[in-house]
């Protein structure tokens, strides 16, 4: 017989162990899906999760993908911790990319150490401004931030499409929907020859450190956490709710914008239609898998980045569509949320004696 009891307190070890359980269950679920599709599940999972990182290049690719994911998820953790549902990070990433890319095109042919920092900064500001729209509408017009931030993703995508097809398209590009390749001075420095890993990873790491400082060592971080736990308490304590909402949206928008500008000045080197394989949406999963904790998010971003690489490898070797990655990402979040049940409830397996029956 199974008995379910409510826990009185949440033990920290379970809090960080359930994500691992979720990953394990996802592997089983993925194996079942591969089996149904007619593949040997063990082999398919090997192609998905081991082959991609079995050499140095693969490992560098993992970091290339984890860099934006981690950065966006860190920003989102500010929003989610305070119960603000910014799910339009994809749009903020694209808008950051558009603004940064526009500045990069403006500096086309310029040399100078100042070019790249200006581009990066403008990308962050772009993302920040775009995130301000749902924040301001939420605080002053009571508008649902989930829907507004999401609608803006489509608007940002269409704006990018308009720019790369129309006014910003490469004059020598035979009408391909893309801009010029940015000048060398506008590109993120590559860290190792032959690998794609770039200096953007330092931006991510610095952001992780700063957000840890803000969240755990400042009054603002305390306010964010209290508002997330209980809005009433926050109001009672006299926190300025509106300012905080706007602030957390600005932080997460800036992070998403940085991720966007990191992509276009890093691995991509120009603007085109698909500057992000839905990093903004996937980062939501990263944020939850990392328990909205800066260190947790680093590990989570590596795991989720692997699903991107795995999907690419599986597409080549098993001819499954690259969307398989999304199936895995959805499953991780399902299992993670589901296993949270263990945080609040104990499941006891009781053996009943005969005379009790």
């Amino acid at each position: 017989m199974i008995k379910i009891e409510k826990r009185n307190d949440v033990s920290p070890s379970i809090y960080f162990l359930t994500p691992i359980l979720a990953i394990f269950l996802t592997l089983i679920g993925g194996g079942i899906i591969f089996y149904v599709l007619g593949f040997n599940p063990i082999e398919a999972l090997k192609f998905f999760f081991i082959t991609p990182i079995s050499d140095l290049y693969g490992f560098s690719e993992l970091l290339v993908k984890a860099t934006p994911l981690c950065l966006i998820a860190i920003g989102l953790s500010f929003c989610f911790k305070s119960n603000n549902w910014n799910i339009g990070a994809e749009g903020q990433l694209i808008f950051g990319g558009i603004v940064g890319g526009g500045v990069a095109l403006l500096f086309y042919g310029h040399d100078g150490f100042y070019v790249l920092p200006i581009i990066i900064l403008s990308g962050a500001i772009g993302g920040m401004i775009f995130a301000l729209i749902p924040a301001v509408l939420k605080t002053y017009f009571n508008t649902n931030e989930i829907l507004v931030s999401l609608m803006l993703v489509y608007v940002a995508k269409l704006l990018l499409d308009y720019l790369v097809v129309g006014p910003w398209s490469n004059p020598e590009g035979f009408n391909f929907p893309e801009t010029r390749q940015f000048s060398e001075s506008a590109r993120m420095p590559i860290l190792f020859d032959g690998l794609r890993i770039h200096a953007g990873i330092f931006i991510t790491l610095i952001t992780v450190f700063l957000s840890w400082l803000i969240l755990y060592k400042t009054y603002l971080g305390f306010q964010i956490k209290v508002s997330g736990l209980s809005l009433k308490t926050a109001k009672y304590a006299g926190y300025k709710g509106k300012t905080m909402i706007i602030l957390v949206f600005m932080i997460s928008g800036a992070c998403a914008g940085l991720a966007g500008v990191g992509e276009i000045t890093g691995p991509i080197g120009q603007l085109h239609r698909n500057i992000s394989p839905d990093y903004g949406f996937t980062a939501i999963i990263v944020a939850f898998l990392g328990r909205l904790n800066p260190v947790g998010i680093i590990f989570a971003s590596l795991v989720v980045a692997l699903t991107y690489l795995g999907a690419e490898t599986a597409q080549i070797f098993l001819q499954v569509p690259k969307y398989t990655g999304q199936v895995f990402q959805g499953m991780i979040l399902f299992f993670l949320l589901g296993s949270d049940y263990l945080l609040f409830f104990k499941i006891k397996f009781l053996v009943l004696k005969k005379n009790e029956l």
């Binding site: 409510k6 599709l37 549902w85 799910i87 509408l137 017009f141 009571n142 508008t143 649902n144 989930i146 829907l147 507004v148 999401l150 609608m151 803006l152 489509y154 608007v155 269409l158 704006l159 499409d161 308009y162 097809v165 129309g166 949406f281 996937t282 939501i284 999963i285 939850f288 499954v320 569509p321 969307y323 398989t324 990655g325 999304q326 199936v327 895995f328 990402q329 959805g330 499953m331 979040l333 399902f334 949320l337 589901g338 949270d340 049940y341 609040f344």
Partner: protein
Amino acid sequence: MSFDLNFIGILIGAIMASSVPLILAASGELITERSGVLNLGVEGMMIIGAISGFALMVITDNLFLAVIGSMLSGLIISIIFGVLTQSLLTNHVATGLALTIFGIGMSAMIGKNFVGIPGKEFPLLFINLKENVPFLGPILFGHSIILYFAFLLPFLTNYFLKKTKIGLIIRAVGDSPTSASNQGINVILVRYSCILYGGAMCGLAGAYLSLIYTPQWIENMTGGRGWIALALVVFATWSPIKVLIGALIFGGITILQLHMQAVGLRIPVQLLSALPYIMTIIVLVVISRDSRKIKLNTPTSLGQIFYKEK
């Protein structure tokens, strides 16, 4: 382009057709939300309905089975959401997002072998009358049975919620789950049923897209309609009749935008395509500005986890 009466009739008919998936999905989600559950997985359930409907049509060559199958698959995938939010007490927003991500991925995975296959002609009713009656013909006739059902649905939903006992129970559960539970109502069972119903309607909405509206399978073919349907529920302040009005407005914007593109106005195509999304934001702002009105109409326990101590 001539603005004769018949043309306007055809235009209105097209607007009605493009509003069908929104009406179906939003009406389903409205029932779900009335029971206090916020399911953000509408887009995911719609796209699963779209691919299952299309796949079944190709495999069985039977449109009836395809439509029923799409509803069933929408329902089945909503079970995941039900188990997580109702039995395992997970956060509604996060679970709904996971459902959408999972649904889009899953549909593309299933749909890989169905790209580029032409659809089958869906039977349209009263074709003769459509062509022979001026103006009213293209508005009232020549549509699929699903369209007629969709236009009836908001009225049925309205009656169901206001006049039937089950409707009353659903509203009670959404507004005050604790008191409903104390009255002996099984809150979790009611919410489960509403989630499954919502899933089936979203599945049907998807099937309308892949079987009738643009009869083929295209990856991501719902294109944000699920999210617009979610916005419509807020826009309608949880009233089924207003869902119908809202869906027609958005259908109107979509069709208008397509016609403006076709006419070749000197407005960028992308700006026109962005119109439905921008309009959604504007409408949401206008509706939500009055926070009292929203508070009065929102199901009180919307998105909150219900747990009964045993």
